[in-house]
Subunit: 277 residues, 2 copies
């Protein structure tokens, strides 16, 4: 449905400018050039719009961050690549990023906060995964602190991307932060965040990957995808989620088939989680 897309895009602008609470449905419909009734044909309530938006935009955002991690992994200058990817994502999705940063502290709505937190946990885990890839066991007890340092760097330097419209030297920034990250990784000895504390802060908020949820999302993709191979892979995967049939290697292959399709990136991610690969 094209209308939904339009509404979400214009709403994102308004939300990133004013926040959720101070944006009215009226304003949204005005900016879209549609009537109030038309809005309620696409979304049952204003809340439903907000939740849809969080899923829609933060999924894109997280998938890109994930991609940065994956591409950076095992490269010579892993952290440089990582930070470059991160901040490119910040530039590309600056409106989403702003909304993300705005509303993840503002607990006007408990459920909403949980949802945003869940995405942040996702990001946290991506970073931890990257560190494990590079340092293996050698980092062990300072790992989580390093994760929080990296997140701190991201949040602090995000200011430059989100609140000012500047031409910035991304390479220089990435090099600068990569150096700092490596230095900490190599020299830091005193840790604060224990395994347990990390568990408490993260797993606590983690979103469940339920069978129903996965099936629902797969169905959504199936209806919007055209390409034959992708479509068939999705259908097979849907069958697999309902009743296990194929072996691990086949499933991975099927996920690989859909992974690059823009509409399926999140589904691919979720399936990996669901099958615990």
């Amino acid at each position: 449905m094209m209308k939904k897309q339009l509404i979400m895009e214009k709403a994102l602008e308004l939300f990133s400018e004013q926040g959720f609470e101070s944006t009215s449905v009226q304003q949204i419909t005005e900016r879209c050039g549609i009537s109030k009734g038309a809005f309620y044909l696409s979304f049952k309530t204003k809340e439903e719009l907000i939740f849809s938006m969080i899923d829609h935009f933060l999924q894109q955002f997280i998938v890109d961050i994930d991609q940065s991690v994956k591409e950076a992994l095992h490269k010579e200058d892993m952290f440089v690549e990582f930070y470059k990817g991160i901040f490119k994502t910040f530039q590309k999705h600056s409106k989403s990023a702003r909304m993300f940063l705005n509303e993840n502290t503002n607990p006007a709505n408990k459920e909403l906060l949980e949802k945003v937190k869940a995405y942040e946990v996702d990001m946290t885990k991506s970073i931890a995964f990257m560190l494990e890839g590079l340092y293996g066991e050698t980092l062990q007890h300072t790992k989580y602190d390093l994760v929080y340092c990296i997140k701190g760097f991201m949040k602090s330097y995000a200011e430059f991307f989100i609140f000012a419209d500047l031409r910035l030297d991304l390479d220089q920034l990435a090099k600068s932060l990569a150096e700092k990250t490596e230095i900490i990784a190599r020299h830091s000895t005193i840790s604060f965040i224990t395994e347990e504390l990390n568990q408490y802060m993260n797993y606590h908020h983690e979103e469940m990957v339920s069978q129903d949820k996965v099936l629902e999302l797969l169905e959504l993709s199936i209806q919007s995808v055209e390409e034959a191979i992708v479509l068939e892979s999705l259908q097979l995967l849907k069958g697999q989620v309902a009743h296990q049939t194929y072996s691990k290697v086949i499933i991975i292959g099927l996920i690989e088939n859909i992974r690059l399709q823009p509409e399926c990136k999140w589904q691919a991610r979720l399936l990996m989680k669901y099958f615990q690969f």
Copy 2:
């Protein structure tokens, strides 16, 4: 006026729970146990309340941070002391901190954003000042990056204080972050934030210290302070702001007289700025 205090305190609770926009005057008056009319005897509008609150609570907050810096300066474990002070402040003013973090990204109101940003700039300068004290010129071109790293650490670890109610080992946390900070200071060579970029991000938002503003705030203190020495110092300082009379050393002495009075801490800070000491 006692009513004002009561309203601001209860409003702080509500704002830190729900944010500005989703808190109504009705809710505030209910929690205070007063009528709607009584509210408007203390504040002309809801906006005036918000602005008063930002000044009231963020001034306390910044003064405490400042104090942490001052007390830490030149000590053996400067950074440990600094971080300990910072996070104690976070615990003590957790509601203010939450409001601060909530609303400094949410530009529902431009003026409000400017005000909150101005306080953040204040904090940034405090940290820069501390670094200058410790490293002098040796740090020069990586100084501002270090400031942003420290701010990043603060923001990232603030999560533990503001969104969870945990018993935390502050000493361990302070040691851990101090070590990281020192490591970066000592080993980092690649900088990103130039003098100019820092100027652009900070001085841009800096709040003017106008004569009128200082006089107004001094008058406010004069009316609320009882102690003779403090009161007389305030009056002399007010005269001094209006027409220069005394020498620098005398003025500093007078500021010293008022500095420890809780109601005057912010005034002391502002006077130092105003006279450019």
